[in-house]
């Protein structure tokens, strides 16, 4: 009898454990089903409509670009059907998105390796780096290169001119502050400073604002920003004015040459806007990429992803440089052959300009 009771308890215990496990498995699988039910509509038509609706609900530059998004739907929707291949759908989407002429608009056909990433600044999915080589700068032009932060290198050029290379504006402000303190302490006596953002793809605008504050002596407005705040095309949140003002313990407010290329984008460009309002700053190089706004990533039901510019960023006088970029005061371009041969003509021109003294 006692043996029977023990066995009975063991069986009940196992039944309880099994029931608990089955309940957990059932709930887990149900939770997935409940949330994923909409994904079963991953047809080309639904994917197209989802992407089109997302841009309508979030894109902040229709007015700036002069694009009638509803009219584009009327033009492109008839080209989409549920029998078309991924490649055909991709072609329609690329044709439609090309109208936006926005480097921050990117289509990632994730999950289909046959199709390249699309953006207007890519060639068959490939981003062509500008003719700039940071290793060349450090090895040939800098006497005492130091990298106190992964995104920042500094040193002295010919004639004691200072040099700071800012690779991006990603990371913690505290870390940038420490690196900038070191760099600006070392470069305090320089007759002029080169700030190099030729390969800076951006990052976080408030960090760029903070760094720009290391090169200014007073508070100046440099940008206004408004962002989409609702599904209607004209729904924006409040317009905010951004100011550059002195930040940090050490600053450099002497003559500055700001080096740019088309690869200077996003927060790199808002940094350039902030620097350009300072009278002692001259922009040298070539025009920036023309992609200022914050961009968000969304996905459509077939698993493809795309980025959308959500803001309308302008200079304080109302000028938008989206799709246009910031043209330099002094136009100088490297050629790839020059860089491969060990020469950086842009850097040399900037150094000469700083040593000659401002006009």
């Amino acid at each position: 009898m006692s043996h029977w009771r023990t066995s009975h308890w063991r069986v009940r215990r196992w039944v309880r454990a099994l029931a608990l496990g089955l309940t957990a498995a059932l709930i887990t699988s149900l939770s997935g089903c409940v949330l994923e039910r909409r994904e079963r509509s991953a047809t080309p038509t639904h994917a197209f409509e989802q992407l089109w609706e997302d841009y309508r609900a979030y894109y902040g530059l229709f007015e700036v670009k002069g694009v009638d998004w509803d009219a584009l739907h009327a033009e492109y929707a008839p080209r989409v059907n549920d029998q078309m291949s991924d490649a055909e759908l991709y072609e329609v989407l690329v044709d439609m998105l090309t109208h936006l002429d926005d480097p921050h608009v990117t289509l990632y056909p994730a999950g289909n390796p046959e199709l390249p990433t699309f953006s207007i600044d890519l060639v068959d999915g490939v981003f062509v780096e500008p003719p700039f080589d940071e290793a060349l700068v450090e090895e040939r032009y800098l006497h005492d290169a130091a990298t106190p932060h992964p995104q920042l290198t500094y040193g002295h050029l010919a004639g004691g001119v200072g040099y700071i290379h800012l690779r991006s504006f990603d990371g913690k402000q505290r870390d940038y502050a420490e690196a900038l303190d070191r760099a600006l302490r070392a470069l305090a006596d320089a007759p002029g400073l080169v700030v190099d953002i030729r390969d800076n793809p951006g990052g976080f605008d408030p960090l760029a604002q903070y760094v720009a504050g290391r090169f200014t002596d007073t508070r100046r407005a440099y940008m206004t920003v408004r962002k989409r705040n609702g599904a209607e095309l004209d729904e924006f949140g409040p317009t905010r004015t951004w100011y550059v003002e002195p930040t940090g313990a050490r600053r450099f407010t002497g003559p500055i040459a700001l080096l740019t290329t088309y690869a200077t984008q996003s927060a790199g460009e808002t940094f350039a806007l902030a620097m350009r309002v300072n009278p002692q700053v001259v922009q040298v190089g070539s025009t920036t990429g023309g992609a200022f706004s914050d961009a968000i990533l969304r996905e459509t039901w077939n698993g493809w992803a795309y980025t959308i510019s959500v803001g309308d960023y302008r200079a304080p006088d109302g000028t938008s440089f989206e799709g246009v970029g910031l043209a330099p005061d002094v136009w100088v371009e490297n050629t790839y052959d020059e860089v491969r041969a060990g020469r950086d003509a842009v850097l040399e021109a900037a150094t000469e300009w700083l040593l000659a003294g401002p006009p």
Partner: protein, 287 residues
């Protein structure tokens, strides 16, 4: 719907705390333990986290997370008070689109091609802290538990898409039942729902850049507000089996199911399922 968060927060918490304390003070004497019993337990387990955040993406995301918790529980026969710290970590992927990658290709100055493939997934960290007080009401063999908790939950998602709730400070009443079993075992079931909460989610435009602000400050400034039942609905159900062993040990197995729906700036639904096993050190004893 968004309102300045901070001035009302302290008041709500004080009100919630006062309610819990007055509930505890009003407890009847009856089945009091001769000695208050305390348990400090460490748990490990598995959590399935499923999210559909239409503000961030049209795809549902889900992931398998490793979970852990540290729990203190005290009870004296009239009141149970619990403090819990929990965390879970893992990756989420879009449901039905596992293994996606995005390829970045660049042509370098020397003409070579540089290619990087990055998986489209989101590393996910959830953390929560909760203090709960419950009154014990014996009804025959069953002990009913009525009380509430103040809790703080945080979800940090890093990836191409970052769906989900970011943080929530909440006040929630709870109801439960405990059934003592032979051999120092018990089974307990409880449910809670949030009545009011201060919630931070990414704002409509899904960005947090504000002049002079860190990303967290931007999130709090742009995406925070009070929610009540009209906009936020949650339900958490917790089932536990507990067995004391030896002089000082307690084994506890928990199965928890949580559902959340929030409607600002666009609909968010989250379903969490967690199974956890914990071992606790028992201090004090039964009458």
């Amino acid at each position: 719907m968004l309102t300045p968060p901070c001035p009302r927060l302290g008041g709500l918490l004080r009100l919630g705390g006062a309610c819990l304390l007055s509930l505890a003070a009003a407890l009847p004497r009856g089945t009091a333990l001769a000695q208050t019993e305390h348990r400090v337990g460490l748990g490990v387990g598995y959590s399935h986290h499923a999210v559909m955040d239409t503000a961030a993406t049209s795809l549902a995301y889900d992931g398998h997370l490793a979970a852990t918790s540290l729990t203190y529980q005290g009870e004296n026969g009239r009141v149970v008070w619990t403090a819990r710290l929990g965390a879970a970590f893992g990756h989420m992927q879009a449901t039905g689109h596992a293994g996606r990658t995005i390829r970045f290709v660049s042509r370098e100055v020397d003409g070579s091609l540089d290619s990087v493939s990055v998986p489209v997934r989101a590393s996910t960290l959830t953390a929560d802290a909760r203090v709960r007080v419950e009154r014990m009401l014996p009804v025959g063999r069953v002990v009913l538990l009525a009380g509430g908790d103040v809790g703080f939950g945080l979800t940090n998602v890093q990836g191409f898409a970052a769906p989900g709730l970011m943080q929530m400070l909440s006040l929630a009443p709870s109801l439960g039942a405990r059934v003592p079993l032979p051999n120092r075992q018990l089974v307990q079931v409880s449910a809670r729902t949030v009545l009011a909460a201060w919630v931070s989610r990414m704002p409509y435009d899904q960005t947090v850049s504000l002049p002079g602000q860190t990303p967290y400050q931007g999130l709090v400034a742009r995406g925070s507000g009070w929610r009540s039942l009209g906009h936020l609905q949650t339900l958490s159900i917790d089932a536990a089996y507990q067995r004391d062993f030896g002089a000082r040990g307690t084994l506890r197995v928990n199965l928890a199911l949580g559902y959340l729906h929030d409607d600002w700036p666009r609909s968010l639904r989250v379903i969490d399922t967690t199974a956890e096993v914990s071992l606790a050190l028992r201090i004090g004893g039964r009458s």
